[in-house]
Symmetry: C2
């Protein structure tokens, strides 16, 4: 690496993806068993018949979660689920997790048991073994790192890089709900701070609160692919927001995209709550993140296999890379698709 005497570079200027890419470029791959390193939802290791998939996630109190409104049991559940989602996004099956915890002394054993009870629920639901870990005292807040190990047959694996011009862009479930759930929780926290006697008003918001507090990974979607005889050409899970994930697939596959605003699936509660907050529902879906739906591409000839399934939405199609990344708004106007935020109709 180069070390010069110019002023230090600000990390924020690179962003998370830039940083990982920048740091990883100096590491050569030495093992022929290392099929895929940095740059997809999971690393891929060849073991002969089966490929081993590995993914890791670090969750920090005050950055990724706020214990003032997230119950520990839900946090444990979510911490496992978001990791499993990365393995499903490779069309693989998660099998084992290892968990590292940093605990400050404000946590009792009972509190940590509650966290683990949530992890246990997720492990049981998704048929995953907890096989190891590390615990440590922490001088700041709660720290959770989970690494998940999965498996897939070589010919089943789906990378971000396999999308082809003409493929359909599809997504499971609906988007933006987790983000709107977070907005409601943050609003009620602010109200509570002002007046601790007021009870939080969460009525009627169940669906979006659950999307935020207890998300699910789309194991069922992977199973449906098998049943339908579909192998997506590219796939990624929606953790950072639809726009950012679409761009990952397009950049790594070397294609452009036409995304149709009217096709983006939104739950009516997500839509109404966004309006209540004076937010554009489409922007919430494009930039909200944490939905853990699967975004994938399939060849046009597979359209008939999914067209009648209500849980899948075709939201666009892939174009030559020269056509770039385009959002076609409901009004028919065309806008450039950007990773963070999107200035809806110029307003």
């Amino acid at each position: 690496m180069d070390f010069d005497n110019t002023s230090p570079t600000d990390l924020a200027s690179l962003g998370e993806f830039g940083l990982i890419k920048h740091l990883a470029q100096h590491f050569d791959i030495k093992h022929s068993s290392t099929v895929k390193g940095v740059g997809d939802d999971a690393a891929v290791i060849d073991n002969g018949n089966l490929q081993t998939l590995v993914s890791t996630d670090l969750l920090l109190e005050g950055v990724h979660f706020d214990l003032s409104y997230v119950p520990l049991k839900h946090l444990g559940y979510k911490a496992v689920v978001v990791n499993l989602s990365d393995i499903y996004a490779m069309n693989g099956t998660p099998r084992q997790i290892v968990v590292s915890l940093g605990l400050s002394n404000r946590f009792s054993l009972e509190a940590i048991e509650e966290l683990y009870q949530g992890m246990l629920l997720a492990c049981n639901k998704y048929n995953v073994d907890l096989v190891g870990g590390d615990t440590s005292s922490s001088r700041s807040g709660l720290i959770i790192n989970i690494t998940v190990i999965g498996a897939a047959e070589k010919e089943e694996l789906v990378y971000r890089s396999g999308a082809k011009e003409g493929d359909l862009l599809c997504v499971s479930g609906d988007l933006g709900g987790a983000y709107m759930g977070l907005q409601v929780l943050e609003r009620e926290k602010a109200v509570f701070k002002e007046n601790p006697k007021l009870q939080p008003d969460l009525e009627g918001k169940d669906y979006i609160l659950e999307r935020q507090l207890k998300p699910e990974a789309r194991k069922d979607v992977i199973e449906q692919f098998k049943a339908l005889g579909i192998r997506p050409t590219a796939m990624i899970d929606v953790s950072d927001g639809l726009a950012s994930e679409i761009l990952h697939i397009c950049e790594q596959s070397g294609v452009g995209v036409d995304l149709y605003e009217e096709k983006i699936p939104l739950d009516s509660l997500t839509y109404d709550t966004a309006r209540e907050f004076n937010l554009d529902p489409t922007v919430c879906a494009l930039s909200g993140g944490e939905d853990y739906e699967l975004l994938f591409t399939i060849p046009l000839e597979d359209y008939n296999k999914i067209k009648n399934l209500p849980d899948f939405s075709v939201i666009g199609h892939l174009t030559p890379s020269s056509k770039g990344y385009q959002l076609i708004a409901k009004a028919g106007t065309v806008h450039p698709l950007k990773a963070q935020g999107w200035n809806h109709l110029g307003s």
Copy 2:
């Protein structure tokens, strides 16, 4: 898990090992591919021919390292090495790592590059691929979590639980050096705090400083085992101190031990520095930790294979479990061997 209304349990009363054991007991193993879960240096996953080994370690600023005297490059190197050591302790070969980083905004890109440069050095030296990771902003200090993936043939694997009565207890290298290196660094830090104009006095302490700041994992020992046709009956790496590691092997193997104080290998600089600090050199070896040597047991008939190798010391032998855990002091007196600290000769 049970939740009752009695007062919360203090985490410290359980200790790290107690906590992991306590939490993991509620998780059943669901996959037949999960050969070994919590409780050894690494988890073991069956992949047909090869077994996959997985281990993870969380390192926190202010708890595991002090950036006021640990250079970032050394920290990166050590963070990788301590993880690899867990795989060697299973008689396996580490192949891949994934790295999660939590970074506060006081770190520049150049600082993080330095950290990665150390990781790169370790990856190159030990022939390991960095295949993925996660970075996050941190509101407190630097957080490093590394998960290592290794491989071993089924019949090569060595667990903590295989030691037999009559086996010899052996250790590679020498012990207590890393702990004495830490004492020197802490002393010089205290001196510097008192008077920032004083230069740190580290002269002649190179060996123990290197043991603390840039430890090595004993890849060479595993290679020697292969060359000598030795497969230890049990093995563990010395991360928490000799006494604690011996007890892990004895408890998991269901045997007792006679450990001979005079046989514990100490470097002369470790010995002299311990004396300089008015510390008992044996206690430093028993409780110091961070030496990353390999502690292992072999059948008596393998003694001839190692007796002339200066890098291996036979330090005791395994007894029936009814005889308990004993330390035979230089004076011939017998003391109970305990995990933390050891009150040398009653003084």
